[in-house]
């Protein structure tokens, strides 16, 4: 026993000496060669050219301008398909799905909340430029420039109309996804949109089986249901939807005046055509208004319930953060029964005191507590608005695109028999 102790202490001294020696001099000093050997240079390959990022932004602007021209001026669906295929090839397969506008949302949030983070200029441009185009021309970005939308759009063969209630319910998911991704980006925990991007694995040909299966499932579904990811998941689509509602020159189904011929009625695979509202329906307006006011009144209650629920889940939400996870793991670590995980081993070798980690983790958990309140209140607000929105009627004579949900895919245009005057 004593002997082994002596040996260990000797080893510690030895190792300690070794470290001192190492910091001054190497264990095996570099030889002085006599044969005139010249040492190769340590390779430090230069990063990919920064010009690529500028090229990406240029291509984005060009593609957006082209597709907007095709939709609004030429009113041609084939032009949209051409741009879609180009986007799938360039932004999808060539640029491997990165940088994309959907994910750039998280960079923007992280940059807003985290002063130490410098957002790449290309990511900022990819966030802002589609928004500006949407503000003027509607969601032409979604129509075929976004590779994620384009790849689903070209798969659409046999569109099936979903029940209205199902669309409404599924349509709430993007808001929740947006809230979660903002929460995780703001706390610098994770970029969940990038992590669970269903098509990026296909664009890169190297997804894990799980992600590949999800991507393939989305593509199979999009044969029948138009753009499932765009409509029921995409968090950037939420922002574009809101901006597009106030857009200046949105696509119109008819180039001139609508004659209510009903030909375009079922042409939209996304169910984004507003049908004329009959006068009979308008007569019910009083009851509807009363219902609207009643439903609006419960919005604050929904927000409080949502916020309370979110705040109760804040510890579970915080588990996504790697620091919180490590602190949790370390706290429950029992060296007798458990095998040390790589994370704990890595933390131990870093020599950082555990207390410091716990302090940092508790700080992050606190952020998640407030974040949980905000996220929950946001979800409550969205559900409340969706509910009260069900009882609003707006008098409408013509068939018009729903400016929020319409992605300007231009499918309806060829159904309109009216000639441009």
């Amino acid at each position: 026993m004593k002997k082994s102790f002596a040996f260990i202490s000797l080893l510690i001294v030895f190792v300690g000496m070794e470290f001192v020696a190492f910091s001054q001099q190497q264990r095996f000093p570099k030889p002085e060669f006599e044969s005139g050997y010249t040492q190769p240079v340590t390779s430090m390959p230069a990063p990919r050219d920064g010009m690529f990022a500028i090229l990406d932004v240029m291509v984005l602007i060009a593609a957006l301008s082209l597709i907007t021209w095709f939709i609004l001026k030429r009113r041609s669906r084939s032009g949209v398909v051409a741009v879609s295929i180009f986007s799938i090839l360039y932004f999808g397969f060539f640029r491997e799905g990165c940088v994309c506008s959907v994910g750039s949302l998280q960079n923007v949030v992280l940059a807003l909340f985290n002063p130490g983070y410098h957002i790449p200029l290309s990511a900022l441009a990819f966030f802002v430029i589609p928004l500006v185009y949407t503000l003027f021309f509607g969601r032409t970005f979604c129509a075929g420039v976004c590779p994620l939308g384009a790849v689903q759009d070209v798969f659409l063969m046999r569109p099936v109309t979903l029940k209205k209630w199902l669309q409404k319910v599924l349509g709430l998911i993007p808001y929740i996804y947006l809230g979660l991704s903002v929460l995780y980006a703001a706390t610098a925990s994770d970029f969940i949109i990038c992590r669970y991007d269903p098509f990026v694995g296909i664009f890169r040909f190297n997804a894990t089986f799980f992600m590949f299966a999800i991507g393939a499932a989305f593509l199979l579904i999009s044969i029948f249901i138009a753009r499932p990811y765009c409509r029921f998941f995409c968090p950037y689509g939420v922002i574009l939807n809101l901006v597009s509602r106030v857009s200046k020159n949105h696509l119109t189904i008819t180039p001139s005046n609508c004659i209510q011929c009903k030909l375009c009625e079922s042409s939209c695979p996304l169910d984004a055509i507003n049908k004329p509202v009959a006068v009979k329906q308008m007569e019910d307006k009083r009851a509807a208004t009363r219902r609207f006011i009643l439903l609006s009144l419960i919005i604050p209650a929904l927000m409080i319930v949502g916020g309370w629920t979110g705040a109760n889940f804040h510890e579970n939400l915080a588990k996504v953060n790697s620091k919180v996870r490590l602190a949790d793991e370390l706290l429950h670590f029992d060296s007798k029964t458990m095998k040390e995980s790589l994370e704990i081993e890595g933390f131990r070798t870093s020599g950082k005191p555990a207390k410091e980690l716990y302090l940092e983790a508790s700080e992050i958990v606190k952020q998640f507590y407030y974040g949980g309140w905000i996220l929950g209140a946001f979800i409550g607000l969205v559900i409340g608005l969706a509910l009260s929105g069900l009882s609003t009627y707006r008098y409408r004579e013509d068939y018009t695109p729903d400016k929020g949900n319409c992605v300007s895919c231009a499918r309806c245009l060829k159904y309109c028999p009216v000639e441009k005057d």
Partner: protein
């Protein structure tokens, strides 16, 4: 009349949205002036867990072993090249530590040997790095090879790294070598 009111509200919202977008863009554009940032692997924190080989979105991984020749001792018995307890110091596959045979050993002069990494074969598993660090000078080090790195938004290895060795750094600090006085610029 009714139509006009609705148009007016729409215009108000449009301007509000436009102002919001321009505001965010303006604030962040000032912040993004600092130039591009890249992912850097700090070898002094690296524990050679082997996740660099599997977590990267690029296959094979953009993390490669880089040989810092200035630190190399040109040993005959190289801890990064040979398996532990190797009987025979030859280039036989059964003696090599590297699973893909990505290290080329060549004779320089007695008793020194040169070791070169063949980048195309290296998968970034870090076995040689561990060996060299344990028995030698630690001249083999894992680094992000920036010609291969696609500079993801959120580096997949960084989020899997158990020792927090990855960080975003300005472009002039892209490479960092441990135990080496000054970090060379690219």
């Amino acid at each position: 009349m009714k139509k006009d009111r609705r148009d007016f509200i729409n215009t108000c919202f449009r301007f509000a949205a436009g102002a919001g977008i321009v505001g965010i863009a303006g604030v962040l554009a000032v912040k993004s002036q600092k130039g591009d940032f890249l992912w850097q692997l700090d070898p002094s924190k690296c524990t050679q867990c082997g996740r660099c080989a599997t977590s990267c979105v690029v296959t094979p991984s953009a993390v490669k072993c880089i040989h810092v020749y200035d630190m190399c001792g040109y040993c005959d018995l190289c801890g990064g090249y040979f398996r532990p307890n190797v009987k025979n110091l030859s280039t036989g596959a059964e003696n090599q530590l590297c699973p893909t045979g990505a290290i080329k050993r060549s004779y320089v002069e007695d008793p020194f040997f040169k070791y070169e990494i063949i980048d195309e074969l290296c998968i970034g598993c870090g076995k040689c790095v561990k060996g060299c660090g344990a028995f030698g000078n630690g001249s083999l080090q894992l680094q992000v090879s920036h010609d291969l790195c696609v500079n993801c938004n959120q580096c997949a290895i960084a989020s899997d790294c158990p020792s927090d060795a990855f960080s975003r750094v300005p472009i002039d600090q892209a490479y960092k070598f441990a135990g080496f006085k000054s970090n060379k610029k690219i």
